[in-house]
């Protein structure tokens, strides 16, 4: 039987690998998304700050900051485990993972927490970069960090599943650009979802990114679109469901074992 926790040092070594791997190429993994977010801030913020978008009574730039931080966290957290696993398949080292005396739970957590670290780092650096535009005030700072952690956890789990399921980078990028990026745009990053025309506004009910963006926004400006309690509950459900799904596929050996 595989124990839940078996090799603490092995778990930390794997987590270290997941962080060290992306820190070796910071320009691609941290700087590039950060520059994108700053450009969004300058262009959208500059263009739309005088119009009636966002939540009434909230300056548009303040509305935008948590959305951008969440979007940065989502993409970075997804890419870290997905890219890591697919790279190992590409390099023919994925079978090494089966030879370590590390429990499945520890392996899953190492991959997910590596993604969480990168997601939170990109999210916080995005916030830090926007201080220049909007100042440093955050309504609930600790809650903001926790919101970024929860968002990153959800998408690191999804990234782990994608890494296990897909054999190459093309398929992973397909999911990223056809599913995750549109959901992010329709999840309230740049505008209030309820102001979208017709059926598009109903997307918020099935878009898992909607509650995540709103939890971050509530932590940052103290208000959000919809009920914060419901968003919090949905966020916790997403954390649990995506983790259990990742654990299920990992334990099944999807993409890493021949059954």
């Amino acid at each position: 039987m595989n124990k839940l926790f078996y090799n603490r040092i092995g778990f930390l070594a794997l987590l270290n690998r997941e962080i060290h791997r992306f820190m070796k190429v910071p320009v691609q993994t941290v700087l590039a998304p950060l520059i994108s977010n700053i450009l969004y801030m300058m262009i959208f913020g500059g263009m739309l700050s005088t119009r009636e978008v966002g939540i009434n009574g909230i300056n548009y730039l303040h509305f935008l900051v948590p959305g951008l931080a969440t979007m940065g966290a989502i993409l970075a957290a997804f890419q870290n485990p997905a890219f890591s696993i697919i790279s190992q398949k590409f390099q023919n080292t994925i079978q090494d993972l089966n030879s370590y005396p590390i429990s499945n739970t520890e392996k899953i957590l190492a991959y997910i927490l590596g993604g969480v670290f990168r997601g939170v780092l990109v999210g916080l650096l995005t916030y830090a970069a926007t201080i220049f535009f909007v100042g440093y005030e955050v309504a609930y700072p600790l809650f903001f960090v926790l919101a970024l952690m929860a968002t990153s956890f959800v998408f690191a789990s999804v990234g782990l599943i994608a890494g296990l399921a897909f054999e190459n980078f093309e398929k992973m990028n397909f999911i990223l650009s056809i599913v995750i990026t549109p959901l992010t745009y329709l999840g309230g990053v740049f505008f209030e979802v309820s102001k979208l025309p017709g059926l598009l506004s109903a997307i918020k009910y099935i878009n898992p990114i909607f509650p995540l963006v709103n939890v971050s926004r509530f932590a940052y400006v103290g208000v959000c679109e919809g009920n914060i309690t419901i968003h919090l509950i949905l966020t916790l459900v997403l954390v649990l469901v995506t983790f259990l799904m990742a654990a299920y596929f990992f334990k099944k050996g999807l993409g890493i074992k021949t059954v």
């Binding site: 040092i9 070594a13 089966n98 074992k257």
Partner: protein
């Protein structure tokens, strides 16, 4: 040390049988050659031991631990050098070996890493990234990687494939020393002279079945009643020249060389038949069958 009992493995929903009821015991301190043609089932067996492939039947015990019930304990006992020289693009040798030690629960493994790098002539390259190494260096790195946790059993899946002769001999020396220090070694290879030189036990798999499993000396002894005779003639040969030697499996290996296989007790009879033919020969060599010869005979059977 390693016990495989009635292990079977079927792919494609039972359509393809990669291993058929294989049973095998490898004792502590043995140096075993696992031989077989491509697709015979060697790599499947190794992949089962490594946890990459799930067997469909049978039991595997590694160092006294059952693979199904105590999988994590078995990982600490074996080190595996894969056939493929896959490597992580971003890390240096040093970083990769430190991380590998960590995966096996070893925090400070500097001495072992230094020792392995020295023994495998990689010390000067320790700060080089893996993608910058030559093929031979990567092979040596993979051996170092499999040994950082000092496993009791080392399994090498064709470690010398594509390696130049000089480096191959360096690896032989390293493996002999490792074996002398008490490590149990299982080696798969297509170079049978390598198996003959290094191993003391021969296991042959063919079509997913175990067809031989004996100490090397016993296997060689079984075939020692036979002699391989090579005769070099002055003139070119045709098959019709040697129809009278049909019982001794005559084979023209080069234009003027003839190979015969005969029981030792019939050697004088063979020589008499040859001399009666009155064909001048320049050289005559009588040898015991080599492992390669025995292997081919067993596979044919």
């Amino acid at each position: 040390m390693l016990r495989v009992k009635n292990v079977s493995m079927t792919y494609q929903k039972g359509k393809k049988e990669a291993l058929k009821d294989v049973s095998l015991t490898i004792n502590e301190g043995e140096f075993t050659a696992l031989l077989g043609q491509n697709g015979a089932g060697k790599s499947t067996l190794i992949n089962i031991l490594a946890g990459n492939v799930k067997k469909t039947a049978g039991t595997v015990e590694i160092g006294g631990f059952d693979l199904d019930r105590n999988e994590l304990e078995t990982k600490k006992i074996i080190g595996i050098v894969p056939q493929d020289t896959g490597y992580d693009f971003v890390f240096t040798i040093d970083e990769a070996l430190k991380k590998q030690s960590g995966y096996f629960g070893i925090q400070n493994n500097r001495d072992t890493i230094d020792e392995l790098l020295e023994a495998l002539y990689l010390t000067e390259k320790r700060s080089a990234r893996l993608r910058d190494l030559s093929g031979g260096m990567r092979r040596r790195f993979l051996i170092a990687k499999a040994l950082v946790h000092r496993p009791k059993i080392l399994i090498l899946d064709e470690p010398t494939a594509g390696v130049d002769i000089e480096m191959r001999h360096t690896l032989y020396e390293f493996l002999v020393k490792l074996h002398e220090s008490g490590t149990t070694i299982v080696l798969t290879t297509h170079y049978l002279e390598e198996a003959e030189k290094l191993c003391n036990r021969i296991v042959i798999i063919d079509g997913g079945k175990l067809i031989a499993d004996e100490p090397k000396t016993d296997l060689m002894e079984t075939f020692s009643q036979e002699a391989i005779i090579e005769v070099h003639f002055e003139q070119s040969l045709t098959r019709s020249d040697f129809e009278f030697l049909g019982a001794y499996d005559p084979e023209i290996t080069e234009d003027n060389r003839l190979l015969l296989r005969a029981p030792k007790k019939e050697l004088s009879k063979v020589f008499k038949m040859l001399s009666e033919k009155e064909m001048a020969f320049t050289n005559l060599v009588v040898e015991k069958p080599k492992l390669e010869e025995i292997y081919l005979r067993l596979i044919k059977q």
